[in-house]
């Protein structure tokens, strides 16, 4: 921790879409928690509106989305749109799941900051967050 008391980075991790494959999201949630972040897992089948509600209520800086059903091109941008609608674009969105390369490029253009695909070391996600929030947990 830096000497000035910095509020720990708070992250909402959410499963959007209809699938129930929660292995990845749970593993990532634990790893982020172990890395010192405050992690709130919303559970399954969250709509974009529910995810943004949770992020605002919890005063989160980051939303991490997980999906394995193939609906990422619809649902990830819908979360970004919902943040815009609620004037909460300071909250950054990253995602994970089975996402082909072409889709990753398209999603980044639509405002999803980073995407992690199967096989990503957990440390890589932590490193990315540390870079993104240098004042966050040491």
């Amino acid at each position: 921790m830096s000497p000035t008391a910095v509020r720990p980075v708070r992250i909402i991790v959410a499963k959007v879409g209809l699938d129930g494959h929660d292995r990845g999201v749970k593993v990532v949630a634990r790893a982020l928690r172990d890395a010192g972040y405050e992690v709130i897992y919303t559970g399954l089948r969250q709509t974009p509106e529910m995810v943004v509600d949770a992020a605002l209520q919890e005063d989160a800086q980051v939303i991490g989305l997980s999906i394995h059903s193939g609906a990422h091109m619809t649902l990830f941008p819908a979360v970004v749109q919902e943040l815009k609608r609620r004037k909460a674009t300071d909250i950054i969105v990253f995602g994970g799941g089975i996402i082909p390369d072409d889709d990753i490029a398209a999603l980044k253009k639509q405002g999803v900051e980073q995407l992690f695909t199967p096989g990503t070391p957990l440390q890589e996600i932590v490193d990315w967050l540390r870079e993104r929030f240098p004042a966050g947990p040491a």
Partner: protein, 553 residues
């Protein structure tokens, strides 16, 4: 040769080996020598690792450790059953005809997420999900298209669906009726395993009690009306894919099986009237011997429990039959061609473990739905095992291996320890409500991931032997227009049907759901009246309510 005048006694061979082993150089790469599930392994197994009292077992004989058929695959090969389904019923129908023409021997239907979750394509939360993970089925009309030109009396079909399983089975029965095929001759399998949904896959809708009622209703109905149908496929696959160990997969799956047996007995059914039609579905992961041991232990445990605890008299009730799918989680997006090799190893384990049917994953399944070519390679891998490798010529070829037998015993004892724990928690459903399985699985998943991070386990192309350049492989994409077409189709069905008949059928179903009648005949009538899947589910939700899981990390 002259006599050698030995002064010292020859070393005991086992002791000599131990000394020689200790003095041999050991690999020092930090990689675990335990199984992928964490069972410590010795470098060598001998007869000392088996109980001295062990009697010889034979295939086709209780407790079936060596297989349920005396003739193994000499009598009949396993069924090559590739799970497939995507986009619309029309496109999937074409893929089925392609697979059947290429020598596949049974169909296996993958449904899309809205269908699996019991909602119609025009529901708001179906947006972006239609046709992605499987085929979209909204009503009997889609099912008619899906099986158009495929004679349902001549093939067997497996349907992977759970919460709305009863509805899809009724649709299948109704399509068969239209083809002139009576329900009594239909063969196939319905996954219909709601317990593992609460435990692992999480495609639950109703709370546990009414969910179990629907399962028992379908088992009871099929025992009378669709006697050749496998009413439930008690599944470890999803438990394993969610991160469990092999022993947890084995234990939790068999515990689920026993919970279904208990529920049917409670309904008043005789065990031998339904048990022969229970079937199982396991994962074949990459740790070769552990998987073989798991399959062998599963048969032995089930046989003992069915005979000794449930008093089943019919030998068919003792025999655990199972389908296997190679492990989706073992596949890598990196260097995806390697997935062909992984799948071949896993498929071999399934065959040496005595599976009744098998799905081999396609190399691109980690990325998206398989293309025609990758689907064919996956099927050809099975054909290679069956016809080229010779492994099907001998029954349980690994039986008697010190290692395999000892590992089979170890799997069995680990499972028995879990059964005790589950019983102490009050049974499977209370254990679900206490998040017992969910925590066990999440712990195992996290442990495995940590081992990968520490390079104590290796995934080729992921944490070792990586390459910078990835060759993109063709993947199948779903045309976004499909969504609006499917939405239009379900609305058309709603417009054209006999509205009075449909409304009456749904009203009768609602009334029956509030009582205790078997719901299958009511669902069948609603299906015939072209009530949509979503309408039928919503009718049941009005009575049963929905289940929400406590989110545990």
């Amino acid at each position: 040769m002259g006599r050698s005048p030995l002064k010292v006694r020859a070393r005991d061979p086992k002791q000599a080996w131990e000394e020689d082993f200790e003095s041999s150089p050991a690999r020092d790469d930090g990689i675990e020598t335990s199984t992928i599930s964490g069972i410590p392994l010795k470098p060598l197994y001998t007869k000392d690792d088996l109980p001295a009292t062990r009697t010889e077992e034979l295939p086709g004989q209780y407790p079936y450790t060596r297989g349920i058929h005396p003739s193994g695959y000499r009598g009949r090969l396993w069924t090559m059953r590739q799970f497939s389904g995507f986009a619309t019923a029309e496109e999937t129908n074409r893929r089925y005809k392609y697979l059947l023409a290429n020598g596949q021997t049974g169909l296996s239907v993958a449904f899309d997420m809205p269908t699996l979750m019991g909602q119609d394509s025009d529901a708001p939360t179906s947006r972006g999900e239609i046709g992605h993970c499987g085929v979209a089925i909204d009503s009997l009309a889609d099912m008619e298209t899906l099986f158009g030109g495929i004679p349902l009396g001549d093939i067997t079909t497996s349907m992977t669906i759970n919460s709305p399983a009863a509805i899809l089975l009724c649709m299948y029965i109704a399509v068969a009726e239209e083809q002139g095929v009576p329900a009594s001759v239909l063969g196939g399998t319905l996954q219909n395993d709601i317990l593992k949904e609460f435990i692992a896959q999480k495609e639950f809708i109703f709370p546990p009690a009414p969910s179990m009622r629907l399962v028992v209703d379908s088992i009871e109905y099929c025992a009378k009306e669709v006697p050749k149908w496998n009413t439930i496929s008690i599944s470890g696959y999803h438990i394993r894919e969610a991160g469990s160990t092999a022993a947890q997969e084995l234990a939790f799956t068999l515990a689920d099986g026993m919970a279904y047996v208990d529920a049917c007995i409670e309904r008043g059914m005789r065990v031998d009237d339904f048990a022969p039609r229970l079937s199982f579905f396991f994962d074949a992961h990459i740790d070769f011997f552990e998987e073989i041991a798991k399959f062998r232990a599963a048969r032995r445990i089930w046989a003992r429990w069915m005979r000794e605890r449930y008093g089943a008299q019919d030998e068919r009730s003792w025999k655990l039959r199972f389908h296997t799918q190679t492990a989706g989680v073992s596949l890598t997006a990196q260097q995806p061609e390697l997935n062909i090799a992984r799948t071949a190893i896993e498929a071999l384990a399934a065959v040496l473990g005595g599976t009744q049917s098998l799905h081999t994953n396609a190399m691109d399944e980690v990325l998206a739905l398989p293309t025609d070519k990758s689907a064919r390679i996956a099927l050809r891998t099975q054909q290679l095992l069956a016809y080229e490798s010779g492994v099907a010529n001998t029954v349980d070829p690994l039986g008697g291996s010190y290692f395999i037998e000892a590992l089979t015993d170890e799997m069995e004892s680990q499972a028995e320890r879990y059964f005790k724990q589950i019983e102490d928690l009050g049974g499977v459903i209370p254990a679900i409500e206490a998040s017992f399985f969910q925590k066990e699985i999440a712990d195992s998943a996290f442990r495995y991931q940590s081992e990968l991070e520490q390079k104590r386990r290796i995934m080729i192309g992921v944490n070792d032997f990586t390459v910078d350049e990835e060759v993109p492989i063709d993947i199948l994409r779903i045309d976004p227009r499909l969504e609006s077409e499917q939405v239009a189709r379900v609305r058309e069905v709603r417009r054209k049907r006999d509205q009075a008949r449909c409304a009456n059928a749904l009203a009768s179903l609602r009334k029956a759901a509030a009582g205790t009648d078997n719901l299958m005949p009511y669902i069948l009538e609603a299906v015939r009246a072209y009530a949509t899947e979503g309408e039928i589910m919503n009718t049941l939700i009005e009575v049963f309510g929905v289940y929400t899981e406590r989110a545990v990390v």
